[in-house]
Symmetry: C2
Subunit: 323 residues, 2 copies
Amino acid sequence: MIKQLQQQVEEQVAALNWSMEPQGLYQPIEYVLSLGGKRIRPVLTLLACELFGGDKSQAMPAALAVEVFHNFTLLHDDVMDRADTRRGMPTVHKKWNDNTAILSGDAMLIKAYQLLQQAPLDKQPALFGLFSQTAVEVCEGQQYDVDFENDLTVCIPQYLEMIRLKTAVLLAAALKMGAIIGGASEQDAQALYNYGINLGLAFQLRDDYLDSFGDAAVFGKKIGGDICCNKKTFLMLTALQKANKEQRDQLEKWMDCNNESCFEQKVASVLAIYKDLQVDVRCEEAIQQYFEKSVGSLENIQLPDNKKDILVNFANKLMGRNK
Amino acid sequence: MIKQLQQQVEEQVAALNWSMEPQGLYQPIEYVLSLGGKRIRPVLTLLACELFGGDKSQAMPAALAVEVFHNFTLLHDDVMDRADTRRGMPTVHKKWNDNTAILSGDAMLIKAYQLLQQAPLDKQPALFGLFSQTAVEVCEGQQYDVDFENDLTVCIPQYLEMIRLKTAVLLAAALKMGAIIGGASEQDAQALYNYGINLGLAFQLRDDYLDSFGDAAVFGKKIGGDICCNKKTFLMLTALQKANKEQRDQLEKWMDCNNESCFEQKVASVLAIYKDLQVDVRCEEAIQQYFEKSVGSLENIQLPDNKKDILVNFANKLMGRNK
């Protein structure tokens, strides 16, 4: 079922028409949208709409709005992070230039609102309100992420709030938008939102975990990327909190070392400290905790169990579990 | 009357609350909005609403949306143009950095939509549609402006289309949004839009004219800025069109000269060619033509003459005429 929705989203994304002038504005948009990805967010919008008995074709414009918005954030984030590649291909600011990434990104944000205006008219006030609120929160999350780079006093709750804003709220909003279009009660829509928030947190923490402890072949990225660039992830913040004086000195020494030739040693040394401090275990616990909270949010929703099971299965699949 | 509206806009812009976390996101927004400016666009929204008998307080959120959107474009354009100052003060990317200008700009675009959602509910579909369409067009205009820098084949109609998109459509949309909220008929709202388009074109051409032929003290900028940076304005494009072989060679020679020490000579020489070719006269004619077209658009509007006079007076004032 998820696969089928994914395919429908893919078709509709491909059907968006960007063959317009000026090409310098629209070709980069077509490019970034053609790079694929799992289309998780729009799939969730369609799925939520269907679960509540709505017609998924009515949710498609909102689903596309979420996907176009998500890709807008990638364009601008990649400029800010100076990222060279995205899904194995050059980023827009690399293939074109910074100005193109900025301006085409702006056009995508506006296009997302235009798509949302194709949603059922009576649902638009709720959808616009939720969408704008979420969009602002994603900007706030990105700002916290930037701020944290130079902040030595970040604590774990602050980090969790940052990833809630940067990652979880869009997943949650995608679900809630589908629920709204599907005719869910406000209470059910909010419970689904909470499922999304906690699933988003679990998902991001798992991403942190895999960046340090994953299998490079499965993860698709080199292991230790976060360690190399001194990212203050859940793992690093937990390590700094649990470390004794000597371990803390070691971690800080490695964070001061940005010499590429030392990266292999840096990753190995930091990972050894993570293991000593059982940071991996603590992270797995946190993931499990948010995962359970996510699935637990479904309890209060007025839906038959077989429909809830679809969401439980989705959560398991997203977390790479074969349940 | 205009002065009074201006003051009300100023108060409401100042009343927008940006004292939120993360400050790194919101302080630049407060900064750019505090730099002032004439608030022409929001004033036009309020004015148009009042002319059609609407309550201007109902038009204030839309007016603020237009002003916040306009300032968003300034933030991003200044990054793209590497502009150091704006209204005599450092630009956001200079005072902070590029990433701040990008991200705070994004948040402003979203905030504009949030403000628009405070407009009367029954008018929102029309307002959102017009606003998004206009916003996309402004992006297209900026893209054409960037494209034209490296395009030697730009012709005058292309230039006029660029300034229509980059400048005129927002002025026109500001008016039409006010008219919609004020309860104008679609026909009247569209006629007012046309008034705005032609006034916007006249205004931008006048800006081009003053950059070459203005009084530096009155214009507020150094004369010849466009000539120095080889901007393909209406003046330059007209000159290139009218030039004989020798004059064209001269113009192209000066466009190849980007040595700052030659700028004084460059401006004087290009201005001499402009004068020889009566480019100034041709530009004044074009300004007058668009001005008349603008005022002429008012004829078909169902409004008493004393109300139309307010718009005629506004147009004269905007064009620096003392009529």
